[in-house]
Amino acid sequence: MKGIGKRFPGVVALDNVNLEVYRAEVVALIGENGAGKSTLMKILGGVIEPDSGSLSVAGNEVKIRSPREASESGIEFIHQELSVLDNMDVGANIFLRREPTTAGWLKLVDRKRIYAEADALLQRLGLNFSSRTIVAKLSIAQQQLVEIARSINAGARIIIMDEPSSSLTLTETQRLLEIVGDLKAQGVSIIYISHRLDEVEKIADRVVVLRDGRNVGTLEPREIARERMVRMMVGRDLKDFFVAAERTCNGESDWFTVRNLRTRRYPQHSVSFSVAQGEIMGLAGLVGAGRSEVAQAIFGVEQALESDMILGGKQISIGSPGSAIAQGIYLVPEDRRSSGLVVDFSVSENISLPGLKRYATIGLVNSGKENAKGEEMCRALNIGTPSVTTRVANLSGGNQQKVVLAKWLALSPRVLIFDEPTRGIDVGAKAEIYALMRKLAAQGVSIIAISSEMEEVLGISDRITVMHEGKITGILERPQFSEEAVMHLATGGRA
């Protein structure tokens, strides 16, 4: 890709960007959100057209105007959001748009051939499920591998993977990386986009860094190192990244206590823990360990089968998010676009939503008061928005997450639960969110932070509770913090 330029309304997304990929090479493309990685890949994948620049594959200049044409040039795009059809079986997905047909005039879909070839392909990738399995029954990781199988079946010479590991567990990620290695050995080139630098370190042959729509540099194999990548991405050093976490717990250690909480997902186990006032308790574990279920049960989104909660010395019972909110227990959910925000509402409408009655007299909303609060929160949290009446859908991920947070800070939090607080947020906004969490803790809020990012959970927590398959397997105090200790407990090891 040479001299690629792309403008969007109000912003130059790409400015004269170059990218070269050799045969059988893994190139990692990294950069903060908005650096232009996805735009560049969308151009390569035929989703959007560039304003300037040229593309050539194997020495021939090509024009790619649609995903179909990309596919014909041997380029396959595995999107961040899964694009498998989960109501169909694996075979049908792998052969989608290139179904073999039976001989004769009827041209029926040749199912036998689909299943035979698909099974052979799955075996080649070392996957142990049948091509007749309905995709919905597979795990997210397996579904992702089905997408990879589909790309290979399409005869891909270049596979673009956009954040492929963002919803995978550690072991699944390991498996993915192995498969990437296998593909490379078979002569396929991979463009690997990831925020997870440890993966990049492991698999990349070359690292291309973008910042603000420009190339900032390419790292050759011997130069690939985490600090260097971070510095190139953000233009500053890693050590500014985490706010030095001084303990801010000041109140009683069992300010908020949860006892015998049983969730529907793991009815056979119950969890008990407490959080001190002003403490940030990390909740670590692998995906599927039941952490989100605990959060949802505390917040009343999913009724717990059994629970016993004490907040500030008082027994509380929570039957719905409404009653949790009344107690000052708030949740910043994992998926902000589907559960955290009404993205078609404005910034101030989102901020006021949980406490709307405070801005109303005789049931009528006072929008002046509402917008004033919105502006106050935007200033306090440094939310980048042209105005409080802008639709939240138009904000970046980091600013959206700050709006979710503003929603709760506009009320009076006593317990704040974060489920993956910085998922899909760029480095700069991450640092701001961490600083905010620490500030809230200092103000006496008890914080429970669910995180699957090891660095994050070790960096922000005062104490880490680790879960494995619905049980708490251990609680680590600061001196005991280490990746190994957390991993040991998260995989079911004994404390």
Partner: protein, 345 residues
């Protein structure tokens, strides 16, 4: 507001065309009659609009009107119920049944289409059964003067249904666009999960919308019963729900929920009645009634789509020009185009 503007222009253009071709359109008697129809159809359309904003639908409206019509007639002429009580009874039946719909939809997680489709069938059958399929009416039954007036009289020449519509519109306008409940309704319609995570009792919000719709159906039902003066249980109110749905959609409600306005629904309801009137006045065979309506709705929605797309394209072009003129640092607010979904890029 822009969404309503297009349909308003369509309404005005239609009125002008009809009045040029047939000046009788502007005759007071025609306008009075038109206003009466707009009133009667508009009232329940607003209720249906609220339901559509929740992302739901109510197909049972017409059948429920038939049931209410025969019940009203039977209560007044056969059972000798006090008129005020009879009205209250009708409202209670309509609201009770709608409450049931709401509960089935929100508590049992049944689809609104199915629940209200069953209502459509059930209430029609019930109306026919309790009347032995005989037409019920009020004839010249005495003692209903004031009730008749409220439902169907004229106040200073303005038909009561139209006046009722204006009053109800004002109330629902405030409710929908200014009240806490209205905000909750839009939030629930746009994104029920996020609304729930914000502590909104979405089940109650949705159920209340159905109950309001039931109450407005009762008002319209009583108006229609007195207007026709005889209620044939097999036909009364047939397909009226479709007028309501069409009015709401024409007026900018999305069947996906979370979008719509009282003003839009009003204009949509008026447009439909003007169309029916037009078929009449222009001497188009009345058998083509529905065909004309279908065609105009289709064209209207298509034109709206076309204009919206053109507007969006033009906006993109303008912004692109601006971007070209100013290649300064990327605006942090719109810099996230790369992600497309707002997620990590």
């Amino acid at each position: 507001m822009k969404k309503e503007l297009g349909i308003l222009i369509l309404l005005v253009v239609l009125c002008v065309i009809v009045s040029i071709i047939n000046p009788n359109f502007l005759q007071p008697i025609n306008l009075q009659n038109l206003a009466r129809q707009i009133g009667a159809f508009g009232i329940f359309s607003i209720g249906l609009g609220l339901v559509i904003i929740t992302g739901g639908i109510d197909l049972s409206v017409g059948s429920m009107m038939a049931l209410l019509g025969v019940l009203l007639s039977m209560m007044l002429t056969q059972w000798g119920v006090n008129p005020l009580l009879a009205i209250a009874g009708c409202a209670a039946v309509a609201m009770g049944l709608s409450l049931l719909h709401g509960v089935l939809i929100t508590r049992m997680n049944m689809q609104p289409f199915i629940v209200t489709l069953c209502g459509l069938l059930f209430y029609r059958g019930l109306a026919r059964f309790i009347t032995n399929d005989e037409t019920k009416g009020f004839g010249s039954f005495g003692g209903l003067g004031s009730l008749r007036f409220v439902a169907n009289g004229n106040l200073f020449g303005v038909p009561m249904p139209f006046i009722l519509l204006i009053v109800i519109s004002l109330i629902t306008w405030v409710l929908l666009h200014w009240s806490v409940y209205g905000r909750y309704l839009f939030a629930t319609g746009r994104n029920a999960e996020a609304a729930r995570y914000a502590g909104i009792n979405t089940r109650r919000v949705i159920t209340v919308a159905y109950v309001i719709s039931g109450a407005l159906t009762a008002v319209s039902g009583i108006i229609f019963a007195f207007y026709t003066n005889s209620v044939s249980p097999a036909n009364h109110g047939n397909a009226y729900e479709l007028y309501g749905i069409a009015a709401a959609v024409l007026g900018g409600c999305s069947l996906r929920g979370g979008e719509g306005s009282v003003v839009g629904i009003l204009i949509g309801a008026a447009l439909l009645q003007v169309l029916r009137n037009l078929v009449n006045l222009l001497g188009i065979p009345s058998s083509l009634d529905f065909a004309v309506m279908g065609a105009v709705i289709l064209i209207g929605v298509m034109a709206d789509q076309f204009l919206t797309e053109r507007r969006n394209r033009r906006r993109v072009l303008v912004m692109r020009e601006l971007a070209r003129a100013d290649l300064g640092p990327a605006n942090p607010i719109v810099a996230d185009h790369s992600g497309g979904t707002g997620q990590a890029s």
